[in-house]
Amino acid sequence: MLFAHGFGCSQEMWRHVVPGFAEDHRVVLFDHVGAGGSQLDAYDRRKYDTLHGYADDILEIIEALDLQDVVYVGHSVSAMMGVLAAIRDPSRFGALVLVGPSPRYIDDGDYRGGFSRTDIEGLLDTLDANYLGWSSAIAPIITGNADRPELGEELTESFCRTDPEIAGHFARVTFLSDNRRDLEEVTVPTLVIQTREDAIAPTSVGEYVHERIAGSAFTLLDATGHTPNLSEPGKLTEAIRAFLS
């Protein structure tokens, strides 16, 4: 199983989910280039100006580790990266699990993504506001917390850190992409997992994805918010297991 994290964090997003699969699956975790503990100097803006750049990385990981019959679990924007990778080379994938996917965040005609272009500009502004005064070098948004020693110092160092420049670019690529047309090209068995009241990817968007991927399954999780991998890891694990069996 290959777990891919979304915009804003790192592979730590899966820390409560992985134990539920580690016993009977080979579990592969990674940070996207530009996020977490990845090598920031590998961030090539031309390559990562499109989700295809990330999809190519996913295929490269699969190739390098010689993974077969991969269950790809992608959260948020990584759901669409998985879609692109699985279209490129379906032979490697056993299943796609898309958690809180959105093929397009910006409203377009009858399509309701939930946001306007101005909202996205506002997000970039908010990112700026929160990274103001940081040097352009790596700076963790949160430093160690004595009350939660289990996180450990090593973890804290790489966890959710990012470079403001890269975060801004990743945000643009994430929220300004449009992958609606790619959905119908998916041939790999797919599960769409949606929570109630997801402020990033509304239920109607989850249903849109489900309707356009032929033969896909849809699970409405008894959870709220965009990050069930953190808020309801047990229920998320259960839903994925039910689909795989």
């Binding site: 804003g8 939930g114 506002g122 502004d125 908010t126 709220t224």
Partner: protein, 467 residues
């Protein structure tokens, strides 16, 4: 005065909220309600993220909540709250979740003024950074252009500079060469074929649009329906094309291809135009250098190849003759009576005679022959594949061309030619000396001159005789 904790809470100098583990607001203090203008029932019982602007929600869901859940607290987050009157309130927020998935205590401080100030600072810094990086990119491109000596080198450097400046997935530079548009630098997702036979962005720009931007697949489809599918297969969703001019004339096109919808700013388009302008200047310089190189090999007066070029051609011809065991002849033409014209009628008349003779000689040689001015009043003709008989025929035509009366000359004033021919027929791998052949033809010419003017002398040296 006894402090009432309830009073302290309700009227604290900051907004206070308590949410449950699911993000539903359980309690809000009066300060929070007063700042945001919401009624209590519009806050309590509602989701916390419903109190935020859309941008704030995006940030909270992707950044704040993951960090809060993993770390237990978040400090000094800058956010925008939605106010009842439709406006927004900029705040700094701290949040603490003592127990994982347990209640979250949130405090917000008004930060509007500070935020406005920071935003201004940031905008100024961003503007400065953008203009600095624009200048840096132009400087880097100018350096790259200066280092190139070929048109292709300029095209490559332009494609590379633009690709990096605009984060383009691919970038290509097409140049017009002999009126045909071809890919000269970078990489083009559709390859050369797709461009040439059908209308595309590049041709559109060449025909006078100067600049073309297609921001998303819908715009591509609307402008070039036949390119929509191939571009989609090549993962191109948006593109920009800009004209490259050389001395004011259309010389080529820079195209940047993007893998997602892109809206280029005026600033970016200006930078693109500036890069193209620099590239155009580099193309002009290279064209000039090429002209100079040609001039260096060309005789200025007659327009014929000069001695340096003749020598180069002779070496080539001899190598060919040796490889193919083919005949080759070298004809040396020296004008008789030219010195007198030059001395008596002046250099200007002399120059005119040389130009006229050169013109006539050029007309009587074969298409495959190379004729040039060797120096002064000496001309040389390299005749590939000519046996002695052919060489003699050519020499006789040359003599006849020189002998014909010159225009605008006093009666009795004219020139003839003394011609020496060295004809070779290599039969093996022996070395053929260009200098030796020139010396042989030169000697034959002098022999002809000594025998009286207007004569032809042919020698057939063996390769071994040529030193």
């Amino acid at each position: 005065m006894a402090a009432d904790p309830g009073e302290l809470y309700e009227h604290a100098a900051c907004g206070l909220l308590l949410t449950d583990g699911g993000g539903i607001v359980q309690r809000a203090n009066r300060t929070f309600l007063a700042w945001t203008g919401h009624r209590r029932d519009e806050v309590e019982g509602q989701r916390f993220d419903s109190l935020l602007t859309a941008a704030g929600r995006l940030f909270v869901e992707t950044r704040f909540l993951p960090v809060l859940r993993l770390e237990g607290s978040v400090h000094e987050l800058a956010l925008e709250l939605r106010r009842a009157d439709g406006g927004s309130l900029t705040v700094l927020m701290n949040a603490v979740a003592a127990v994982p998935d347990g209640p979250v205590h949130i405090a917000v401080m008004k930060a509007t003024q500070r935020r406005d100030y920071e935003r201004e600072l940031l905008q100024a810094r961003r503007a400065a950074e953008r203009s600095e990086s624009g200048v840096r990119m132009l400087q880097a491109a100018a350096t790259a252009f200066a280092d190139t000596v070929t048109r292709q080198g300029v095209a490559d450097a332009l494609a590379d500079a633009a690709g990096r400046a605009f984060d383009a997935a691919q970038s290509a530079v097409l140049l017009l060469e002999n009126r045909e548009l071809g890919i000269a630098g970078g990489s083009h997702p559709l390859g050369a074929d797709a461009l040439l036979d059908r209308d595309g962005p590049e041709l559109r720009v060449l025909r006078g649009d100067d600049e073309l931007v297609l921001s998303d697949p819908a715009e591509v489809e609307a402008s070039f329906p036949h390119l929509a599918a191939p571009l989609r297969r090549a993962r191109v969703e948006a593109l920009s094309a800009t004209l490259v001019r050389e001395e004011g004339k259309a010389a080529g096109v820079l195209t940047c291809f993007f893998g997602r919808p892109r809206q280029l700013t005026r600033e970016e388009l200006d930078l693109q135009a500036s890069l193209c302008r620099l590239a155009g200047q580099a193309l002009t310089r290279i064209a000039l250098q090429e002209t100079l190189r040609e001039l260096a090999l060309q005789d200025e007066l007659t327009g014929l190849p000069n001695r340096a070029l003749l020598r180069g051609r002779l070496v080539e011809a001899l190598a060919e003759a040796r490889a193919e065991r083919r005949a080759v002849a070298l004809i040396f033409v020296d004008l008789d009576g030219f010195k007198a014209i030059n001395d008596e009628l002046g250099h200007a008349v002399g120059d005119r005679v040389l130009a006229e003779v050169a013109q006539r000689l050029s007309q009587v040689v074969r298409r495959s022959d190379t004729i040039g001015r060797y120096g002064g009043d000496e001309f040389m003709v390299i005749c590939r594949g000519a046996n002695p008989r052919t060489a003699r025929a050519i020499a006789e035509r040359l003599a006849g061309a020189v002998r014909a009366p010159l225009a605008d000359m006093p009666p009795g004033v004219g020139v003839t030619a003394s011609i020496g021919v060295a004809a070779l027929h290599p039969s093996g791998e022996e070395f053929l000396s260009a200098d030796g052949l020139v010396a042989a033809a030169d000697a034959a010419m002098y022999a002809a001159k000594r025998e009286g003017r207007d004569g032809i002398r042919i020698v057939e040296p063996s390769p071994a005789e040529l030193v």
